[in-house]
Symmetry: none
Subunit: 245 residues, 2 copies
């Protein structure tokens, strides 16, 4: 990320000065504010990556401001307050704060928590776009997670059904790790997005595995990729190379 812009909201001038100065020394841009109007101006106007919001702001209330912000904004908010009782903290979380830090605090710790919230925001933002854009390669085969297409070593497309695709995804995510039928079933249903609420019972997984083998094993009688772990379950026994697209 670029240099983070942090809005410091506190009506105590000294405290605000201390915090802004400290943040700036540690590589952030710190913007001061003392009331809701100023907060709003900054957020609506420029980019703000995180808000450090004091709870007691003269005749205004940080909790209220947080609640208002949450109604329309996803901006990360860390509440800062001398009110450190559990129920007061929980009130902060209840109105949508990402963290709640009691005063007085260790500035280094504040910085650590700011960084934690910022990196969680960043990681989550990039995740979604990446997740479905991967390509898996194993034993010459290719599985494209975006299109759910499977290509044989000779680059011929092979048609897999819903569940076969889901099974392959589960297996690809766990190469060389033996999975029980229960584990497979549970993850299959997750992939299926709740449509079939049936956590497949009986021998369904066995049959499914057999069908997948028929499609992706050169010799289904002697599986090289999807091996049986007697008494346990199944293993995806090939090395998997994952590449972003």
């Amino acid at each position: 990320m670029a240099i983070p812009r942090i809005l410091v909201v506190d009506d105590d001038v000294e405290m605000r000065a201390m915090m802004t100065q400290f943040l700036q020394q540690n590589g952030s841009i710190a913007l001061p504010a003392a009331n809701e109007a100023e907060v709003r101006r900054h957020i609506d106007g420029g980019r703000v990556d995180l808000v450090l919001l004091d709870v007691m702001l003269g005749d205004e209330n940080g909790l209220e401001i947080c609640k208002h912000l949450r109604r329309e904004q996803d901006v990360p908010i860390i509440m800062v307050s001398a009110l450190s009782a559990d129920h007061q903290r929980m009130e902060g979380y209840a109105v949508g704060a990402d963290d709640y830090i009691a005063k007085p605090f260790n500035p280094e710790l504040l910085l650590a928590r700011v960084k934690a919230v910022l990196s969680r925001t960043r990681r989550s933002a990039s995740l979604v776009h990446r997740r479905n854009t991967k390509t898996f390669q194993f034993h010459g085969w290719t599985y494209d997670a975006k299109t759910s297409e499977v290509l044989s070593p000779t680059k011929v497309q092979v048609a897999l059904s819903h569940r076969e695709t889901a099974l392959l995804q589960v297996l690809l995510a766990n190469p060389h790790i033996p999975l029980t039928r229960e584990e497979i079933a549970a993850n299959l249903d997750v992939t299926g997005e709740g449509q079939p609420p049936s956590e497949a019972t009986g021998r369904a997984i066995d049959v499914l595995v057999g069908r997948l083998r028929n499609k992706i094993e050169t010799n289904p009688k002697e599986p090289k990729i999807l091996k049986t772990e007697r008494g346990v379950g199944y293993v995806f026994a090939a090395d998997v190379a994952v590449s972003d697209t």
Copy 2:
């Protein structure tokens, strides 16, 4: 989001039992683990939305595990520890933890912080996930996006197929807006997660609409909810109330 799946990592059996039980009572799925191997197994295998990670795990170290996970995973991690000195907390944040909670802790506060981290993750992620936490009401009917369940005005569950559910979702997202067959088909495939790459041609949508009407219209011959827009397509003609879950 669907029900959050939380991995509880602690080598103290009682503590782990307390935490898992509490989380489950509060609407999460809690998965127990006691060492890095088990953690890895769960994370690689199934979906895990958040990890509650104890620092002192017999001869293993939660900080190390956290560091390892962060090398390849974006999964949210909350460290839990009896080590509550500032430098110990900061060590937790330094290895990539999203939060650091000192033992002993108030379970309610733990829950609040878990929720805070999860919702930060969710907010930063995408609308797609958010969409699945809602309940839609129209004409006495209820559609729960989480479970894909449909309840009739008399609260009897009605079974919809994959595509019928997908169709209903598309319509619910566009109340009172006439949609062409092409628009519907395109959105159906998005919902279907790329499995059937067929952008349903011909009269498929008509038939699908007919089938859905048979299930959710009091009198399918005279549709009050899913109306036909002659020469255009179809409209979801009921008011929709959306509520978060």
